[in-house]
Symmetry: C2
Subunit: 271 residues, 2 copies
Amino acid sequence: MPDPSTFEFDVATAITPRGDDTYDAEIHAGWDINGNANGGYLLALAVAAMRDASGRPDPVTVTAHYLAPGRPGPVVIDTDVVKRGRQLTTVTGTMRSGDRDALRLLGSFGDVAAMSGGFADVVGGPPDLPPIEQCVARDTSVGVVTVELMRRLGVHLRPEHTAFTRGEKSGRALIEGWFQFADHRPIDTLALMLVVDAFPPPVFNIEMPLGWVPTVEMTVHVRGLPAPGPLACRFHTEFIQNGFLQEDSEVWDSAGTLVAQSRQLALVPRG
Amino acid sequence: MPDPSTFEFDVATAITPRGDDTYDAEIHAGWDINGNANGGYLLALAVAAMRDASGRPDPVTVTAHYLAPGRPGPVVIDTDVVKRGRQLTTVTGTMRSGDRDALRLLGSFGDVAAMSGGFADVVGGPPDLPPIEQCVARDTSVGVVTVELMRRLGVHLRPEHTAFTRGEKSGRALIEGWFQFADHRPIDTLALMLVVDAFPPPVFNIEMPLGWVPTVEMTVHVRGLPAPGPLACRFHTEFIQNGFLQEDSEVWDSAGTLVAQSRQLALVPRG
């Protein structure tokens, strides 16, 4: 991999250890949607610190509860290694912004390359996406909302799933598309934390009051090391009721291997 | 609800507050599989303490990382309320058994009844199960393994999904069936923590090395208050690779409403 300091994602997820499992970091401008930092970016930033504390190369399963929006500026990430096991190291995390907790996290870290192989059985496969050049680049504006994040990313959506961008509805809470970085940074397991929250909410494609869909909780499972190339992603929602919705993703690499799954619980926008 | 002291689940999940957000409790014998306490029972016990600390009636989203097996005997559950919001209170938890952490948890609690209503859209529905009396009661022994837990529960499986109990394979990692308590305790949102880990691993129905499937992490979303009556449950696994498998559940009440979803990441048994 080239010098990480040249890639925007690495600059934006840089951490400075204080030496006591506490890290200084900064929420960088330009990774936001209308001023609020993207939840996947915040997750990646916190996980960068937790991963460092773990001494292992990869997040394997991480859960974040979102407590306050992230605004650009300095943050402190406190970590605590609670168990160092043979395969996994479990770490808690808190991202503090000013005197508020922005995120609370719990994760287990390991070495995904060392875990590879063994018994495998997979139901289903990656979405059968058209080539990137036939997909629709996600725009940096959706109506009055500015999605600054999209300048950093190359998110290209399956054309049939972009009805919402024209004020229409596909009728199904499903969005598929390609993910890569705008500066073509290679995608590692840290970047997967961003990928799983980088697409428009699939509920934009159904008749639901439009608005911000704030994440309450997100869990990501890293299931493989991404092979080089863009990722094929599927985001979908099945259950909207009692003020909450679930959103799942499956993320596949260019070799057709599942590399991440995520599920989040989010609040239904108030119409 | 009748006097809770008469139901086995309430006795087994009793907690005694020390007054400083720390709780004494006991892992009761009889909720185990070959001596190890069931992961759902441990989750319910820890969540009982976290719920009490939260001051809210229901777990809404809870994640547990399993660090050590739970053996019958006293445990201490430390909790910390990290945010009291308008709708949700976020709490961390640690279940200690002796000088070891058995579980680490992160959860948000609320009032599911107060959240009910609003925009709803659901894809799919409950499994179309045969009546309980035509289903197969889960046995207290599977080969040489004693599933003591099953004396407490009334888990009845769809007959086509019980191939594994005869040393056969259905070929699909799917198990559906009914859940109720053996003593017919009403099912509340705390009990859902147990329900989502009360069925045999669906991977028992595919050609995979048989053995213990230890949970690394489990996340449960409570999506509704269960109506009275047995629950219709679906457990399924789609992705087995690199030493890990995911297992999802959807749990539906007698009114046909989704009341819980869960996903766990577990280790593939070593053949």
